[in-house]
Symmetry: C2
Subunit: 407 residues, 2 copies
């Protein structure tokens, strides 16, 4: 296991009872900033993401992406000795984070009141799909469930057809970032003399947070404007959408200041002052005409690169819609570390998204290894809790501790 990076969170200990994605995202950010993260898993399989693809030498790349650098302890949290270990760890941690369904952690004996009684200075963060309380909180929660309830899913897809949804765990990841932010601010409060606190972070809130316009425009117009999905062209800005290039789709955006640049780029300077198209409102009203004019120009170009070059020469905001392969191999992404190569003892070298928080003067993308299930049982119990080897061995024999080095 690589040493923790020398970074902002050195000296903080995070007790991590999260699984799969939103919670592990929050603690992944923290471990990359130097926190000691103790991931608690349960026998026999541990975090279910250990079963998610792809695997090599028993190790899941999915799990690895989210959990490098974290210690793994695996224990039976329903056994009294398991609960005792958790109580001792809570007493010695700065942060406690979990993302079970609401109510589960309390029934395990580790709800906020119980945790606060053990350690009033701890920051506890519970992550859920739909919130800790309220009529929807009891529903089984996954990313897309919250996306559907948040109104975001309904805002994606072609009008008249079914909604589409992103093939990426955007809500989970985003919620993990919300959680990390809240934890950081709560630690800041503590560092300035405050006590611990409890954070209730949900995918529902994180997704709904993304409506910069939709809710208020509905409200401001008393429902006269009903924002709705509009496919691959924006309903309120024109041109803003996807055009068919010679090889792939190309995103072109022009707010009012860019409209003359679009006209010049497509060889139609005559349109700059054309009274049919000189405001965004008029262009939206004649959207199909505007789209057709621009598309006709694209159709006459020899290549996507020629299209992008012509637009960029005039400073028209535009971009190719990259595939995953193009993203993964793009020199800008590789150079910046937006895509990084992770070297894992079992997986070998694998491309993964980079650390999105960049601090000048601190290490970025430090090497970190993922842990096998229960790999750090002995380390955590002896070094942090002061158990002796015999006691650790006895807990293993009693089935309170569990490990599987083949993960």
């Amino acid at each position: 296991m690589a040493a923790l990076p020398k970074h902002i969170l050195n000296g903080y200990r995070v007790l991590d009872m999260t699984h799969v994605l939103a919670g592990p995202t929050a603690t992944r950010l923290m471990v990359e900033m130097g926190a000691e993260v103790i991931k608690v898993e349960f026998p026999p399989l541990g975090d279910v993401s250990r079963a998610l693809p792809g695997h090599r030498n028993g190790r899941s790349a999915y799990f690895t992406q989210q959990n490098r650098g974290k210690y793994s302890i695996c224990l039976n949290a329903k056994a009294e000795e398991g609960k005792a270990i958790l109580r001792e760890l809570i007493a010695q941690s700065d942060v406690f984070i979990e993302n079970f369904a609401p109510g589960v952690i309390g029934r395990l004996g580790f709800g906020w009141e119980q945790v606060q009684a053990i350690n009033p200075n701890i920051v506890m963060c519970s992550i859920s799909a739909l919130g800790q309380e309220g009529e929807l909180s009891a529903l089984p929660g996954f990313d897309y469930i919250a996306q559907a309830y948040s109104g975001i899913m309904g805002m994606i897809g072609e009008p008249g057809g079914p909604p589409s949804f992103p093939m990426a765990g955007m809500g989970d990841v985003m919620t993990g970032v919300h959680a990390a932010a809240a934890i950081g601010f709560a630690l800041l409060h503590r560092e300035r003399g405050g006590a611990g606190t409890f954070l209730d972070i949900s995918l529902l809130d994180a997704y709904t947070h993304c409506h910069e316009l939709n809710v208020q425009i509905y409200s401001m117009t008393n429902g006269e404007t009903m924002p709705t999905r509009s496919g691959h062209h924006h309903f309120a800005v024109c041109p803003l959408g996807l055009f068919k290039g010679k090889e792939d789709w190309i995103c072109i955006i022009a707010l009012q200041p860019q409209w003359p640049a679009v006209c010049r780029a497509i060889g139609r300077p005559d349109l700059v002052e054309d009274p049919r198209y000189d405001t965004n409102e008029k262009r939206c009203a004649a959207a199909q005409d505007v789209i057709d004019i621009i598309q006709a120009w694209l159709d006459g170009q020899p290549s996507d690169q020629a299209i992008l070059d012509a637009l960029q020469r005039e400073r028209v905001p535009c971009a190719p819609v990259l595939t995953i392969e193009q993203l993964a191999n793009h020199p800008h992404m590789r150079g910046r570390g937006t895509i990084r190569t992770v070297s894992d003892p079992k997986l070998g070298e694998v491309l993964m998204p980079g650390m999105p928080l960049r601090f000048k003067g601190f290490p970025h993308n430090p090497p970190l290894d993922a842990a096998a299930l229960g790999e750090h049982n002995a380390k955590v119990l002896t070094e942090i809790l002061g158990y002796d080897d015999a006691r650790v061995a006895a807990l293993g024999e009693a089935g309170v501790l569990f490990a599987n080095p083949e993960t």
Copy 2:
């Protein structure tokens, strides 16, 4: 102007030279946590989001949603007296945040080296679409440009058709949360005796961060698996998708543990052990059959509510795809404050998304007013910088300061 809430960030001052969405999102979160945010705008119009819909009594609801509680000063940053004011404010601030195109802030005289020379303890955060450096950094940047480059846009939409994109500023909002998180951790470092630092936060990194699976699965399979958009049914989990209810679309999700529950809910307990469908792999291979079986059941139900009730009785993860109107008026959202009513002196009462970070024991959704352009010129210059009234008046007459109370 309402007083700042008594909250975690009391005593911190944020100098905010951001506009529109990603930057203002970060400082909105901070002002709701009690920071003093001084928003710097430029004559004659200020933040361009003041022109974004909808308006009432000269005030933009778009602007209001992102900027409540912030002081507004409006100055000419190209005039030497304007630069002097900014230098004095930098010297007295804890955080400096900007989201101009890369390079602009340096040409104004406020790049990191310059800022650090004025105040080595300040945390400076620059937000951009594609990063501060590298071949793509110079391109004009908008949310969807970064979404296209990140590979996220290509992962949304029906297969074979054009990509779709969310009609919501997800990348900007999400990036603002990344920025707030990084600022919080950088302040924590400072609070523990560290110096200031510079943060380079980009939409590209934040969007790419969301690929929990796509990049590594492409990499692990050496390109044999090419993740791609798959419309309204997931390509790798079945059933996971949208089904046509009697009134609207319904999201239904079953990982392996939920498959028997789906079979029971749709009155097909015989399918639980059916060897054609008993693993996710088999169900994905026969996805259209599985989808047709479930859809046939939905078609026979009397209402969406009956569908949801039957599924929820068996604890099948499911959700209605809410419209914005349904979201805005849902009792759970209203009760939780996921949707809140903002009361603005000019706008009146408007529904907006709530504060997604929830701290137990601290005020949530405190009342805050948006500022007219330059409303706090005198307050900021006299109370913080110690200018006298005559000097402020002279700066106004010289055109260095500007205000428009009709905003």
